[in-house]
């Protein structure tokens, strides 16, 4: 499975290019709107093409990502997939309680994190040692919160809450609690 960092890099490049184009377009427009010249309007046909373009753009993004981001089918079909490893985790009073002191899995294994909250709404995020995020989900009390993931790179990973649960919540960090081996 493609590492989530690669997807983030792709998104960064795509959005940066878009931002540069829209800023340049507005700069060009702002400069030329004050200059004498032909003051035309778009034809109905061009306008219709513009509307269709916006519709296709909006919808195609989701179709493209569902076909190219590998964790989407795993996430949507997780009920039908048997995980190689399952870690049942509980959260209560702003503390994570893990099944083992260190959760260990191998590269390429499908891992299920089944997290239960006993009081508040929390988050469950897995982070690399450079602080970048691998993935996350919400942890809602009274419901099943299950995140299925396949790790592509060995190393130590940190778990921290990714949702605000009051002032105590930002300290919910457990360093190197997950180890992915070759």
């Amino acid at each position: 499975m493609v590492d989530s960092n690669l997807v983030l890099n792709g998104q960064t490049i795509a959005y940066t290019l878009y931002a540069i184009v829209i800023i340049l377009l507005m700069a060009w427009f702002s400069y030329n709107i004050t200059r004498p010249g032909k003051a035309g309007v778009l034809s109905n046909r061009l306008f219709a093409i513009l509307v269709i373009f916006l519709a296709v753009l909006g919808v195609s993004l989701h179709i493209a990502t569902s076909m190219t981001i590998p964790w989407v089918p795993i996430d949507l079909n997780r009920g039908d997939i048997t995980p190689d490893k399952t870690f049942e985790i509980t959260v209560a009073d702003h503390q994570f309680h893990f099944p083992e002191e260190k959760m260990v899995a191998r590269v390429g294994e499908i891992v299920l994190f089944d997290v239960k909250s006993e009081d508040l709404t929390y988050g469950f995020g897995i982070f690399r040692t450079d602080k970048s995020m691998v993935c996350q989900m919400q942890v809602v009390p009274g419901h099943r919160n299950d995140l299925m993931w396949r790790f592509e790179k060995p190393g130590l990973y940190t778990v921290r809450s990714t949702e605000y649960s009051g002032p105590k919540g930002h300290q919910m960090i457990v360093k190197d609690v997950l180890e992915i081996t070759e």
Binding site: V7, S30, I33, G37, V41, L42, L120, P141, Y164
Partner: protein, 542 residues
């Protein structure tokens, strides 16, 4: 004129508050208070920017999160609502050429929103009640972290704002539908149907030759449709406030109500449905309507594709009722069908509706070139750019795949939320303020164009820059609603802080320019009762 004279009496003593009608005073009061609350919100934002670089000694994390809770409420209700309501309470009668239904009710809206904001801000400051605007159940009722008395006063403040908001909505719809004394009977139902868009079949499917004219103008229709969402949002927030209040009062009386009696996920759906009526509803509709109005006023021309624009506003209203699930893409218990249909595809409609508003406004402006680069035009272009940047950023995160690695990071709050609000919304509001300034003040002259230019560039660069650096930090894994103590993302946070400082300087330049334009005496005069006993919008010419 000496500096002191200008400071006290305004540029060339042109502004005379005694010449203002009650309607002008009402609109100006809203705008002045809204601008001051924007300043408060900006200072809060800057404190948080500094805190994200290095926690401020003597300020504990509880204070930080109390600021984080008050910040969006002050910005949205205290500032944006005030400016928007003041402008629209003036513009609806102005565009319909009839008096506001009730100036008294308008003044009550002003009083309730002003003091409601002050109430929840003060209790946040003193009691540190901080469940954030997310209010994820049962966090608001977690009294091991929060003082229930502080929470109850906080809810009271929000409730005051909501009552003021409901008064505004009622006043707007009554103004559209009522018949002023001595007028020919106004067809109230038809006016409301035209305003809210429920007569859209008339204008779309009828043959051109048989088509009837719309009874209300496009900007009034935008205000009405945004007001529908404003009403629904106020109902949701009020109900939510009452629910939380019940738990708080019970706690104060010594009873511990079962927190699990309310399903957390259902509550989350309920709350986001209501909250999105602001973020993806009234803001987008009000902004699109304001763009159209400003484009028509600046160019003196009809709006390009006005019929499509009117339909798009109606579609946006319907879309705003069905998009909330994009906030729950990271909730594994949320039904997949809601994630895909509401969270992804209906949300993508906003690219179409807002994209149409963007292009229709640009094409209308282009049709009148060459235009003079006035303050209202340059801020309008800034507002368009803001949404041009922020809406696609939002569409990206409203994706099941990308949300897994973006949710609750600084990406959400930077390139999407802050660029949409600071650049998209606030620059549109500044455009309206610069446009309305001479109308509302009976011809006051702006003190300094150089300061207005600085205001524009510092705000534009500061806002986009801050959003961009927050977004870069988010892509590197920095979460929102948290504190980092080891300087993990300091490069981005320092750069975002510098841009935040630029935003503060922009605001100070604007504030100074307005004070020197109207004078301190003029600003005080705005809050004194009008000596003119008239319902007319503007004073009669002598």
């Amino acid at each position: 004129m000496s500096f002191i004279d200008t400071f006290l009496n305004g540029e060339q003593r042109l502004f005379k508050p005694n010449s203002l009608t009650p309607m002008q005073k009402l609109a100006l009061r809203f705008v002045v208070v809204g601008v001051l609350y924007y300043g408060l919100s900006a200072i809060e934002g800057m404190i948080m920017r500094i805190y994200e670089i290095q926690p401020i000694p003597g300020w504990d994390s509880e204070h930080f999160f109390a600021i984080m809770t008050a910040h969006p409420f002050v910005g949205i209700f205290g500032s944006s609502y005030s400016i928007v309501f003041g402008a629209f309470l003036f513009l609806v009668p102005f565009l319909m050429k009839k008096p506001l239904w009730s100036i008294k009710l308008g003044n009550w809206s002003f009083i309730l929103i002003t003091f409601g904001t002050l109430t929840f801000w003060l209790t946040g400051f003193i009691n540190h009640y901080a469940p954030l605007y997310t209010l994820y159940w049962p966090l608001p009722a977690d009294f091991s972290q929060f003082n229930p008395l502080g929470g109850a006063i906080f809810i009271l403040g929000i409730a005051l704002v909501m009552v003021g908001t409901l008064f505004f909505v009622f006043n707007i719809f009554k103004t559209i539908a009522y018949t002023p004394e001595g007028w020919e009977k106004v067809p109230a139902k038809a006016m409301l149907a035209s305003a809210t868009g429920f007569s859209w079949k008339e204008s779309i499917f009828r043959r051109k030759s048989k088509r009837r004219d719309n009874l209300v103008s496009l900007p009034v229709a935008a205000i009405a449709r945004g007001s529908v969402d404003t009403f629904l949002n106020a109902i949701i927030i009020t109900f939510t406030g009452v629910l939380i209040l019940v738990y708080m009062v019970a706690a104060l009386l010594g009873y511990d109500l079962r927190e699990s009696a309310i399903d957390a996920l259902l509550y989350k759906n309920w709350f986001w449905w209501g909250l999105d009526l602001i973020a993806d509803g009234l803001v987008l509709i009000f902004v699109a309507g304001t763009w159209y109005l400003l484009a028509m006023l600046i160019t003196g021309k009809d709006l390009y594709m006005a019929r499509i624009a009117r339909l798009a506003l109606w579609v946006e209203m319907i879309v705003s009722w069905t998009v909330w699930s994009h906030h729950l893409l990271a909730d594994q218990a949320q039904p997949v069908v809601l994630k895909i249909v509401s969270g992804e595809f209906v949300t993508a409609f906003e690219l179409i509706t807002q994209g149409l508003a963007f292009f229709i406004t640009l094409i209308t402006l282009w049709s009148a070139r060459p235009l003079k680069m006035t303050n209202e035009l340059k801020f309008l272009l800034g507002g368009l750019l803001g949404f041009g940047l922020a809406v696609p950023a939002g569409i990206i995160q409203a994706d099941i795949g990308l949300n897994r690695i973006l949710h609750n990071t600084q990406w959400i709050i930077g390139p999407h939320v802050h660029v949409a609000i600071l650049i998209g919304l606030v620059m549109t509001l500044y455009s309206a303020i610069y446009f309305l300034l001479p109308i509302l003040t009976n011809g006051a002259k702006l003190y300094s164009q150089k300061l207005a230019n600085f205001h524009f560039w510092a705000h534009l660069i500061g806002g986009i820059g801050m959003g961009a650096f927050m977004g870069m930090a988010g892509l590197k894994g920095m979460l929102r609603r948290t504190i980092y103590y080891e300087g993990e993302f300091n490069l981005y946070m320092i750069l975002a802080g510098i841009c935040g400082a630029l935003l503060i300087l922009a605001f100070l330049a604007f504030l100074y320019n307005i004070i020197m334009t109207l004078g301190v005496n003029g600003l005080i005069g705005i809050f004194m009762p009008s000596k003119l006993k008239t319902k007319a919008l503007l004073p009669e010419e002598e």
